[in-house]
């Protein structure tokens, strides 16, 4: 045992990627054992229904949900590479990006996809800085028509910018990339393969955290991203209903977007214009129109994660708001638009709603009655351990212990959902009003080639991405 373990460890110090067969087997066995233990617990709970009803219901729902993620994810297959090459438009909305926008333009144009089949649509959403100048000068580097610059003239919001971009292209496939995201060179080529299947309306790529090693918070988020994509989205993809094709890096079929575009652009909720959760809202509408949504684990991009707890909590609040809005809307139609995903989505919604209540209840009872919820804590530990093992299976970069830490963090902040649901009509982003750097040249590769490992960064850059966690709650 020790020899093999050490061997893997030694190689891993130098090369970051490969996991030894022994480690893989061990981690895989660990995940399987945890799953079996959880399944056994559910069986016992159902046979001997005990404890108070809400707690028992929560335990069963969450356990079944988490188990089903592992089981479904095991059935995930990558879309087959058939050499499918449709015309692609990359839509980049820009608002006060400064020099960052030219960096994005250069990196997108460096992507490995036939030049005649890809165009870049950059939309200036009424920036009050020199974004437009950087846009046009960067576009001038390329052949006429390859980079299309659109100026809205006034600030109309991200949705309006994206919609304007969509209306200004006739490409079959629309790729959305956040201004602080960097796709891998082959990412577009990979991402479009799934569209060879006619009923696929949207495909999400995987986004890693570029600034993972910056601090503990970014490490926890990096691990969380991997779990969100490579466990939760894989599972959702097997059912054909990925609930959020993330805004950082996802592709939509033009045909699926066009029919829902104006509704999406002008979406109002509780009498207020919707300014956040664009990606989840769009995926939701594509699903409702009867399309499948998929996930492609081989189409890779990197994005920036918030480095401060303040920024992190603001981002989480936005994601939770959009989850609180789009979750019920999704449940309203998923039973007919994609019936096979209904149990999964219902369990996800129920678990997501119960989770903050349970956390508050636990804290309250442990303080007032001195009662420690042993089952809950041990169960949380087990599931977090399964995430650790899974992460270790997928990535060999010493970040796996942060799955445990992250589980604690994400559980502790889950009551934020209640606050977010109460403030659901408040559309402010919390980042859009404040101009954050974004002009730091070291924050991305000028030549657009993807770094092979997350790379340290000195400072936060640009607007934060609107990737939604996909209900990844323990």
């Amino acid at each position: 045992m020790s020899t093999a373990g050490l061997e893997t460890g030694a190689v891993a110090t130098v090369e970051h990627h490969s996991s030894g067969r022994f480690t893989l087997t061990l981690a895989c066995t660990g995940v399987a054992v945890v799953c079996l233990l959880v399944a056994w617990h559910v069986w016992v709970r159902l046979t001997f229904f005990r404890g108070d009803f809400v707690m028992a219901l929560y335990t069963v729902v969450v356990s079944v949900y988490v188990l089903s993620r592992f089981v479904l994810a095991a059935f995930y297959r990558l879309p087959e590479d058939r050499g499918f090459q449709p015309t692609v438009a990359i839509i980049v909305p820009a608002y006060n990006e400064g020099v960052g926008v030219s960096r994005t333009i250069h990196s997108c144009m460096a992507l490995d996809y036939p030049a005649e089949k890809v165009e870049l649509v950059v939309v200036n959403d009424g920036s009050c800085d020199d974004t437009l100048d950087y846009m046009t000068s960067a576009a001038a580097h390329y052949a006429n028509g390859r980079v299309r610059c659109i100026d809205l003239g006034s600030n109309q919001g991200k949705r309006a910018a994206m919609a304007a971009g969509i209306r200004n292209t006739s490409a079959e496939i629309l790729v959305f990339i956040d201004s602080d995201s960097t796709p891998a060179p082959d990412a577009i080529g990979r991402l479009v393969q799934g569209f060879a299947q006619d009923d696929v309306g949207a495909i999400s790529g995987i986004t890693y955290v570029r600034n993972a090693v910056r601090n503990t918070l970014t490490r926890m988020q990096a691990v969380r991203y991997v779990i969100s994509f490579d466990l939760l989205k894989r599972a959702e993809s097997v059912l054909g209903a990925v609930t959020c094709c993330s805004g950082c890096f996802a592709a939509y079929r033009r045909a699926s977007v066009i029919e829902v575009l104006s509704g999406w652009e002008r979406q109002r909720f509780l009498g207020v214009e919707c300014t956040y959760g664009d990606d989840r809202a769009l995926t939701n509408r594509v699903l409702r129109a009867g399309w499948q949504t998929r996930y492609d684990a081989s189409a890779v991009a990197w994005t920036e994660a918030p480095t401060t707890y303040r920024g992190f909590l603001k981002q989480q609040a936005r994601w939770k708001k959009s989850w609180a809005r789009e979750g019920p809307l999704l449940l309203c139609h998923i039973w007919r638009s994609r019936t096979r995903a209904l149990p999964s989505i219902a369990a996800q919604t129920l678990a997501g709603v119960l989770s903050p209540i349970i956390v508050l209840y636990m804290i309250a009872t442990s303080v007032t009655a001195g009662r420690i919820a042993t089952v809950y804590l041990i169960g949380l530990g087990l599931i977090a351990s399964a995430y650790c093992l899974l992460y270790r299976m997928l990535r060999n970069d010493d970040l796996w212990p942060y799955a445990l830490l992250g589980a604690v963090l994400y559980v502790l902040i889950s009551p934020q959902l209640i606050w977010s649901a109460l403030r659901i009509r408040d559309g402010s982003w919390g980042t859009r009003t404040v101009r954050a750097g974004g002009a730091d040249p070291s924050s991305s590769d000028p030549d657009g080639s993807a770094p092979s490992i997350p790379r340290p960064l000195d400072r936060i850059s640009g607007r934060q991405a609107t990737m939604v966690g996909g209900g990844a709650r323990t």
């Binding site: 020790s2 373990g5 050490l6 460890g9 030694a10 190689v11 110090t13 130098v14 090369e15 660990g30 054992v33 945890v34 233990l37 056994w40 617990h41 016992v44 046979t47 001997f48 229904f49 005990r50 404890g51 042993t374 089952v375 041990i378 169960g379 530990g381 087990l382 351990s385 650790c388 010493d398 212990p401």
Partner: protein, 500 residues
Amino acid sequence: MTTYPGTRGGPRRLLDLARTRLLRFLLGGLSVVALISLMAAWAKVTVPFDPDQLAPLDLPATAVPYQPDQPDHPDAIPALTYHAISDTERGDDVLSRRRFTEHLATLARNGYRTVRLADVERLVAGEPVTLPAKPLLLTFDDGMASTWTVVDPVLKRYHFTAVTFLITSRIVEPGTPSAYLSTQQLKRMRDSGRWEFGSRTPDLHRRLPAETARQWTERVNANLARSQDSLTRVLGRPAVAVSYPLGAATGTPEIPEVLPELLGQQGFRLAFAGGQGASGHSDALDPTSSRWRLARLGMRSTTLAGALLTTIRKAVPVAPSADLPAQRWEADHAGCTVTGERAIQVGVMAEGYGACRLAGTNTTRWRDYQVSTRVVGIDRHATAILAVRDGEGAGRPGRLEIALGESSLLTRQQRADGTWETLGSLTLTDRRAGGSQRPAGAAYEVQVEIRGAQLSVRVAGLPQLTSAVAPEIDRGGVRFAMAADGPRTVMFERPVLNVL
């Protein structure tokens, strides 16, 4: 020496590598240990608590005593109280499995048969009911889990039935670790047909501090209703019997009067008091028992199987018998023999008091009777004492004594609080014989009659001595005793008892 791919920079770099490897190895190992502990903890909280029934212990024949003269009592039902049966728990009322099995084996071997609550109800209501020769009611208080795991298999083996009084608030859902019964176990018990269920509700017997009579009534009513509700929910029907917590309905004076009414309103028809210890006195249930105050015999961890038989015998009231010498007499600080001529002979070896008393005989039903005997052996140094309504066999204090000395006759009573009072006295000087005292060794014909509150003593040749007796001294048996200032013997010849 191993070389690593990409290694540059010599020993220092190697040292860093080794340190990283060691750290990673430690962290990994620690995590594996933590994960395994988590899994073990998870298994522990998951395993459903569903203990199996334990097979009854096999006992050697010597552990099961047989008493051929154990009396039949087809008109009285002794009720036994058990609590938890366990080999691990400790407690005054916790019997070990072995001790408990000995108890039930002994009961079965000596011919006891269990009866149902319906039989008890008819018996105490004075309705005709056919009972076995040695009827018995087994009760198990509190509804402990051991009632299912230990008791039920033993009941099954000896074909007994039993009642369990459940603390309904302690009943748990199946699978929950608990010392008390689960709903699933209760249903299995009900379906076995061996069990009847009663209620045991806390804090009926006393008023809580700062509680008015009205609040007490409301609380008790609510408690009883809640208990009946949960029994109905679990077992399909409410209970007819209740067992008072902590023994009996006591506390403030009005509670014993009010409680039966409240119990009746909630559908209860029988109320059992907690068991007296095996050393104390408790009467078997018979038509004179109050349905709201049914006495039981409490079984203790120290109660041996033989003592159990004695306890039962002492609990069954015996009618007064005319043939006094045939009773079971027991010496009390004296020699006590029944001679061939049917005389009861009491002898002391030194200065003091000695007696023959009725051992293990329940004299609760001995009320109004007459005792005649001829006393021999009275002299200057020895006084004969004949006691009636000796409450010891009826489980209560109180006694009437007739002391006959050479020169005087004295009657006295011992009240419930233990104090003695002289009722009357006579001087035994034979006036007809010119004032001389009776010769030593003379015989005295004595007739004592106790009826209601009146005691009459007639000694041949003397006027009748009649005294009024305290009303609480209303039952009890006979005792033959003496007091002397040296070794002496007194004979009570051919004592006869007539029931009035």
